[in-house]
């Protein structure tokens, strides 16, 4: 049998700022029947663009300008619209990142499932329904017989993502393009979806292109991996080779992102507690408790990592501490003195001593203020420095965040994501705070950039001695940066203690689930963890999907 897909020297351009710019500069790849290739890279690598180009499709504002895409003997770059249409859905299918946006809100899951086979004349509606139930079942969806009659907004995110995989498999395609299908999911849900996808494509011997930014995820599911950067191939190889013996420095960097140097400090005497949260409960005014009886404390010069999945209440805790969301019960002590519940009632001195850094540097910086004004206002407001003194202080801060003075006159739109986050850090530092609350500060960044930011925060702490309350969903970050760990689930603290206590077995059951869900580079990890899950479930741990 011939090879399924051969892409040769593919070139794609995108229209931006009134001209065409190269996005993909001559990438070639091959795929055998039943084989899975992982495309991995950071944002701007062109992985998604290549993925959908293998269906002969370019998004509006993009165009394929060179090369060939040969699918089973047919060049998709030259094929007519009608030829492509007949191929799509039947022989090549697509799974998008956001199922919530990619399902049509006006039709039920089954209607959308059956549409492809019925309209392409592959089967009748009744046959499609049987097929749907079979696929829903093999993808571990609850109530496979009835879930098809639901509308997309009536189904949870993880289930919807699997329903979309089922939809892609409706006509037993030869090739499926998975475009970051688990990126938007929580880590414990991700496993479920990942293993469903893995089983389903193995069972049907479907070839796949799996696009993601997470090397550990792709290692579980692929036979081969292609590493991409700025629209060029970095290297391609079997999973084992890429993970254990990468040839290129870039791949090595991607592999090492999870290891940030950390200088753990010894806990000093107990009276150095600067912040204490006591029995806090809070809700967003609709009666639903988001935080329930939460207590924790932060010691001087230490990093407390608050970890949990979406809905765990970790970000709400940050809002309560900053005074943005006054709690319903409980109190917050700062150096033993109670803090006013609302930030509006706190003195400037207190506001100054607790600073916050946000997840999205894009929206945390005013696009109309230059870097020097962003940092300068904070300097002036808190320290009263003016003129030359203020200028000197801003310069000092910009050096602290390892940027040069040429950045002072730039607007945020002229900075990269990592640089923006550095400016946010400088703005917080300008207040000379004792505590910085970091709310998912690395989640929106590419992995290598995230690693640099974590290293910077670590260095700054060593130099200036402030404490961090580090809110994150990413256990790798927790392992890298924390001294103490607070594990949250459903608005409550499940477990807390020093890093060694929490990370060394025996774990609390939920902590165990969370820790075991973090993908590891080992290609056999997924099979191992699924067995581990069955054991956990047997012990009665609720795994929500």
């Amino acid at each position: 049998m011939s090879r399924l897909l051969t892409i040769k020297d593919l070139k794609i351009e995108g229209y931006q700022e009134e001209k065409w710019n190269g996005i993909v500069h001559g990438v070639s790849l091959t795929l055998e029947r039943g084989e899975v290739i992982g495309l991995i890279g950071e944002s701007g690598a062109g992985k998604s663009t290549i993925g959908i180009a293998s269906m002969g499709y370019a998004r509006p504002g993009c165009r394929i300008t060179g090369g060939s895409i040969e699918f089973d003997g047919m060049d998709l770059a030259q094929a007519s619209d009608e030829e492509l249409r007949k191929l799509r859905g039947v022989r090549i299918a697509y799974v998008a990142q956001s199922a919530a946006a990619s399902f049509n809100p006006a039709h039920t899951l089954l209607q959308q499932f059956a549409e492809t086979p019925v309209k392409h004349g592959v089967m009748t509606f009744a046959e499609a329904e049987v097929k749907a139930i079979e696929l829903y079942r093999s993808l571990d969806l609850p109530n496979p017989e009835s879930i098809g009659s639901r509308y997309p907004h009536q189904v949870s995110g993880g289930q919807l993502q699997r329903a979309m995989v089922a939809m892609a498999m409706s006509c037993d395609p030869d090739l499926i393009i998975f475009d970051e299908p688990t990126t938007a999911l929580d880590v414990t849900t991700q496993i479920e979806v990942l293993s469903s996808i893995k089983n389903a494509i193995k069972q049907h011997n479907t070839a796949a292109i799996y696009i993601t930014h997470d090397l550990a995820v792709v290692a579980q599911i692929s036979d081969r991996i292609m590493v991409l950067r700025y629209g060029n191939e970095v290297e391609t190889g079997l999973v084992g080779q890429i993970v254990q013996d990468p040839k290129e420095d870039y791949t090595r960097e991607l592999l090492s992102v999870r290891n940030v140097r950390h200088d753990t400090m010894e806990h000093s005497d107990s009276d150095s507690t600067i912040l204490e949260v006591k029995n806090i409960s809070a809700s967003y005014g609709n009666g639903v408790r988001v935080l329930n009886n939460v207590s924790t404390k932060v010691t001087k010069g230490m990093t407390v990592a608050v970890v949990g999945e979406s809905g765990s209440g970790k970000s709400t805790m940050a809002r309560v501490i900053t005074g943005l969301l006054p709690p319903e019960e409980g109190e917050i002590l700062f150096h033993g003195q109670p803090l006013s519940p609302s930030f509006k009632d706190r003195s400037l001195d207190l506001l100054q001593r607790i600073q916050m850094i946000y997840q999205m540097p894009d929206v945390a910086l005013n696009p109309r203020q230059k870097v020097k004004d962003v940092i300068g206002r904070s300097v002036e407001f808190y320290t009263g420095l003016k003129g030359e003194y203020k200028k000197a202080r801003v310069l000092e801060l910009i050096e602290k965040i390892e940027l040069s003075d040429s950045y002072l006159d730039r607007f945020p739109s002229e900075l990269s994501g990592g640089e923006k986050q550095r400016v946010c850090i400088a703005r917080a530092l300008a207040a000379e705070p004792e505590l910085i609350i970091c709310d998912e500060v690395t989640s929106a960044l590419d992995q290598l950039v995230a690693k640099e930011i974590l290293t910077l925060l670590q260095d700054l702490q060593n130099e200036l001695g402030m404490s961090y309350l580090f809110i994150t969903h990413d256990l790798a970050t927790v392992k890298a940066i924390s001294d103490d760990i607070v594990v949250m689930y459903g608005g409550e603290v499940v477990e807390q203690g020093s890093k060694t206590e929490i990370l060394t077995p025996p774990h609390h059951d939920y902590t165990d689930l969370l820790l075991s869900s973090v993908p590891e580079m080992d290609p056999n990890w997924l099979d191992g963890v699924l067995q581990h899950r069955l054991d956990l479930e047997a012990r009665g741990v609720i795994i929500h999907t």
Binding site: G14, Y15, Q16, E17, E18, I23, S43, S48, T49, R59, P60, G61, C62, T322, G323, L324, F343, L348, L351, M356, Y358, M360, V363, A364, L365, N366, P367, R368, Q369, R377, S378, F381, Y382, R427, A431
Partner: protein
């Protein structure tokens, strides 16, 4: 100023045309007494007498480009003074409406709570009443005078401005940089002035263009109905009305001020369109 020319050079033809139309009108409005060959109310001939299109027209001793109106005043002169009166009043009204609307909208968006509720519900009710009908009713009680006209239209229009500026400010207000400023301890005015206003400027400038068109057309319509500017003040809407009966004899005089109204509105719309297109940018490519 240099930036402006550079920007204009890169603009598409339609936008250049728009700018050109606006500049001509503004020029006519500002220098009306200098450009106009006659005084605003001078009678120089018979009714609907001699335009350039009329071959049999008697030649006036001083040249009359567009001929005369229904009582023999020079149409070209009336047109130029009309630019001054109509555009001037529309501009002042829009300014007033923006002053009121933006202030209220920003305050509602920043303070939220009951202030926002009270303002928004009031505006909801006002917006549920059609503007023209509402204006007619008030004018019937208060009588038509220029100050009444300006204040009434400005207040009615301010409800629309309130809606949009509140929405724009709300979008900005939820941004984390505003939260940062609040947590820093900045005051309300500082936040409006430094965080919200600079970011709201682009959409509001475009809105100003659209609202100006609306107010301008609205005043023209009221004048056309005989309820706006009163004679003998030259104004485009009234000029259409006064000369309307000529149309049945194939006299195009009423179409000239009407075309002037249409032309200026088209010009402003062209510029606004370009501005909106530039502001929205090209779709980000992943």
């Amino acid at each position: 100023m240099n930036d402006f020319w550079k920007l204009l050079k890169s603009a598409p033809f339609a936008a250049k045309l728009g700018v050109f139309i606006i500049l001509i009108n503004v020029f006519a409005a500002i220098f009306a007494p200098v450009i106009a060959p006659y005084a605003e109310t001078d009678v120089i001939g018979d009714m609907w007498d001699g335009g350039f299109w009329d071959e049999n027209a008697p030649q006036h001793s001083p040249v009359s480009l567009l001929g005369t109106d229904h009582i023999g005043r020079d149409l070209f002169t009336r047109l130029i003074y009309g630019a001054r009166n109509t555009i001037g009043i529309a501009f002042v009204t829009t300014l007033l409406s923006f002053g009121v609307g933006i202030t209220a909208g920003f305050i509602a968006a920043t303070l939220r709570g009951w202030v926002d509720q009270v303002l928004s519900r009031t505006v909801d009710v006002f917006m549920a009443i059609p503007t023209l009908i509402f204006a007619l009713m008030i004018l019937s009680v208060m009588g038509t005078s220029i100050p009444v006209l300006i204040v009434v239209i400005a207040i009615l229009d301010a409800t629309r401005v309130y809606r949009i500026s509140r929405a724009v400010a709300m979008d900005i207000e939820v941004m984390e940089y505003v939260e940062v400023a609040k947590l820093r301890g900045e005051g309300l005015w500082w936040i409006i002035r430094h965080e919200i206003l600079p970011n709201a400027l682009a959409p509001l400038v475009a809105e100003f263009g659209l609202r100006f068109c609306f107010v301008f057309l609205f005043i023209a319509a009221l004048s056309f109905l005989g309820l706006g500017l009163q004679p003998p003040t030259a104004d485009w809407g009234s000029m259409v009305r006064e000369n309307a009966s000529g149309i049945s004899y194939g006299i195009i005089v009423p179409l000239i001020p009407a075309a002037a109204i249409a032309l200026l509105t088209v010009g402003v719309n062209l510029v606004v369109d370009w501005f909106l297109h530039k502001a929205s940018g090209i779709r980000e490519i992943k």
